[in-house]
Amino acid sequence: MSKHLFATIVTPTAIAANNRGEGDGSTLSTLQKITFGNDQYSTVSAEAIRWAFREYLQNVTESEVNRTFDPDEDKYNLKGEKDKKGATFDSQKYIDDDLFGYMDAKKGADNENDTKKRRGVLEVSRAISLDPYWGDIAFGSTGGQKGKTSIHSTEVHRTAYQYTIALTPESLKKQERAALVLDAISAIRHVGGNHSRFLYEFRPESIVIRLTDDPSPWIMNCFQRSGDTVGCSELICLINAKDIDPSELIVGGKISKTPYAESLKQANVKVCDGVKEAIQIAKQRLAQTKKEATSL
């Protein structure tokens, strides 16, 4: 029996400019874009979100994190890197090696493949904007003396993003680390780009959490734009079609104030006003399933 934890998160609507310096040689900072159907949407990579998870873990429990980031030196340090040929990673000892996995590409003394790797247990999907990108650009220039390159422009997008995470707690070396991931969701920071100077809130405004035996989440991209706020009609359809057992779901955040919440409550879904409350309930359910599994 494997219990899987899935969560789909939608961020607040704000002006995003998650440009990470992947310029095309011009002075235009471009956004990453992706095509869905006939429209173009902006996107934030899963790696950027994973970075934010790492940052949280480092802030909360630095002693148990292997790869730490030193912002003053702009450098990463691996605690496990004793010497050039030593053991670098330890998923038992370090939370980040356990959650995110690692790969240490090496050749052995006889030139054989000596690569050490572990697949990350926490999986994060790419975040995709709720609104199509219509090509908005903000213009700016550097202060003081102007030169050839002092005028620059930045692609910006006023939108909200949604992404999904997946985790099988029993695949972790220490199962209690799953609760830490749930805490990290609401504390996520630096995903905004513009070389990370730009503030874009990436906290969850609304969240859907599912703790289930079902190997597939069924809740990916379940939020869609509905007027000024967001809706989840897709989720309600899936519950009505009996693809999702409503008792497995916990919904929280701003969505609880929309008419969609009424339909969810009628279908026997646990709906909370706040995101943190939803996360707390999910943590309790996680602890409960762990208890049941150990008592078996």
Binding site: K84, K106, K107, A166, T168, T212, P217
Partner: protein
């Protein structure tokens, strides 16, 4: 026989011979689907269900292709003095990501919706793949598996798997066709990079839709079987 509906919001099926620019196949290769089914039922041995037959169909229009920028690892094959310098600096066979990763373009597919039909008559496993799939779908609590369910790349998370319903839409089946324009891998040997491929075109469901998943017959094996036959 099992008819499965699979939906994947965003993924990539990198072409077997792609170089720096990672272009994607437009449709999921049978080898990918086979791997996905093994992951669904929690099977880690790739050869357990060899001989199983798969038929693949696409629902709706072709998935849209997007191009994104992503950091990729690359190893420079330094030789001579250059290699010695690198080893002195980092150690033998060590490739730090700060020096050996670079930006690159990659293609992604969005909104992939497919139908897979599975036929286990030819496989030798005692519990057939079709039986294991139906257990995984009806009583997932009986299945022990790990990781998010993904199709293609490991971050191409699958949103859902279930039995196909008429209301999902009409299916365009991939039919084996030697002159077809859709070429997809059936099996890739990760050690040698060699594999077997099949060409397809779209059509109605027929016996030519079935693709058998089996290990490619390598040259050494053929020689072996010939010598055995002569004896």
């Amino acid at each position: 026989m099992t008819l499965l509906y699979i939906e994947c919001p965003c993924t990539s099926f990198p072409r077997s011979f792609a170089r720096d620019y990672k272009e994607t196949y437009l449709y999921p290769p049978p080898s990918t689907i086979y791997g996905f089914l093994l992951s669904l039922v929690g099977e880690e041995n790739l050869t357990t269900h060899l001989g199983v037959e798969l038929a693949l169909g696409i629902i709706g229009d072709d998935p849209a292709i997007s191009r994104i920028v992503r950091k990729q690892r690359h190893h420079k094959f330094a030789i001579g003095q250059e290699a010695k310098k690198r080893i002195a600096k980092y150690g033998e066979g060590v490739y730090p990501s700060s020096n050996f990763s670079k930006l690159n373009h990659q293609e992604l597919l969005t909104n992939v919706r497919i139908v897979v039909q599975v036929n286990s008559h030819q496989e030798t496993a005692s519990i057939k793949l079709t039986e294991r799939i139906s257990i995984a779908l009806s009583t997932p609590s009986q299945i022990t598996r790990f990781g998010g369910l993904s199709l293609g790349e490991s971050n191409g998370l699958v949103n859902g798997v279930r039995s196909y319903r008429e209301s999902d839409g009409t299916i365009r089946w991939l039919v084996k066709d030697k002159r077809g324009l859709i070429g997809l891998p059936i099996w890739i040997n990760r050690t040698t990079g060699q594999g077997t491929f099949q060409r397809f075109s779209f059509g109605d469901f027929c016996s030519d839709c079935w693709v058998s998943i089996k290990l490619p017959v390598s040259k050494s094996n053929t020689k072996l079987s010939k010598s055995k036959a002569s004896k």
